[in-house]
């Protein structure tokens, strides 16, 4: 099943969040800038009902924030959550995951431009060569590169594609 994932971050953490999402294998996204107040900040507020007061209040007190939205497969979600948590451990963020019933895409008679990007994720539970902990070693394979990292200590081995061989050539 596919999910609509929304990551809410403060505007200064947009870069960090984007890098974390790219690292965990998302291939497309859109962002929405907004001004918002968290329930803790909002609690106890009451505003005058004229539009001017309401707008001034939002300008003065609301925080600039960004919502990063993407669609991904269910099995990618734990990887994204872990990656975002690692990058924004000391910052505020909110993740909302919404299951999708159906997606309809119309290319308006044009061919789909780019080839679908296929990223593979694999996992193997073995003792880490660096920290020695018997924990999941996660493998990400792209067309031109690959990496293997320990989910406990974060030690990462990077590989680069050298070439490919087609049978009979």
């Amino acid at each position: 099943m596919k999910f609509h994932l929304r990551v809410f971050v403060e505007i200064e953490n947009l870069g960090k969040a984007m890098n974390a999402l790219t690292d965990s294998g998302i291939t497309g996204f859109y962002i929405i800038e907004y001004k918002g107040m968290s329930p803790e900040d909002w609690e106890g507020f009451s505003i005058k009902e004229d539009p001017k007061s309401a707008i001034t209040m939002i300008k003065d007190y609301a925080t600039d924030a960004v919502q990063i939205c993407t669609v991904l497969n269910e099995e990618q979600i734990p990887i994204v959550e872990e990656s975002v948590n690692k990058a924004l451990k000391d910052d505020r963020y909110t993740i909302i995951e919404i299951p999708i019933r159906k997606i309809i895409v119309n290319y308006g008679g044009q061919e789909k431009k780019s080839k679908e990007v296929d990223v593979w994720f694999l996992e193997k539970k073995v003792p880490c060569f660096y920290c020695g902990e018997d924990t999941a070693q996660r493998i990400r394979i792209d067309m031109n590169k690959a990496k293997i990292w320990c989910t406990n200590c974060g030690a990462t081995r990077h590989y680069i594609v050298k070439g490919s061989e087609k049978p009979g050539e």
Partner: protein, 54 residues
């Protein structure tokens, strides 16, 4: 630092033959190979860099 070789399997669409097949993923310290069981198309990766936690 001795890294044991791993053998894994991944079911996915092959870049060469386009079929949904099983790929054999062999990883060791210096190289990684991914081979389609159906058509034999193989991709080779070389070890590049090691990143250790601070």
């Amino acid at each position: 630092m001795k890294i044991e070789p791993w053998t894994l399997k991944k079911s996915s669409k092959c870049y060469n033959c386009g079929d949904a097949t099983i790929h054999e993923v062999n990883i060791d310290q210096y190289k990684m190979t991914i081979k389609c069981r159906e058509c034999g198309f193989t991709r080779y990766y070389n070890f590049h860099i090691l990143e250790t936690p601070e």
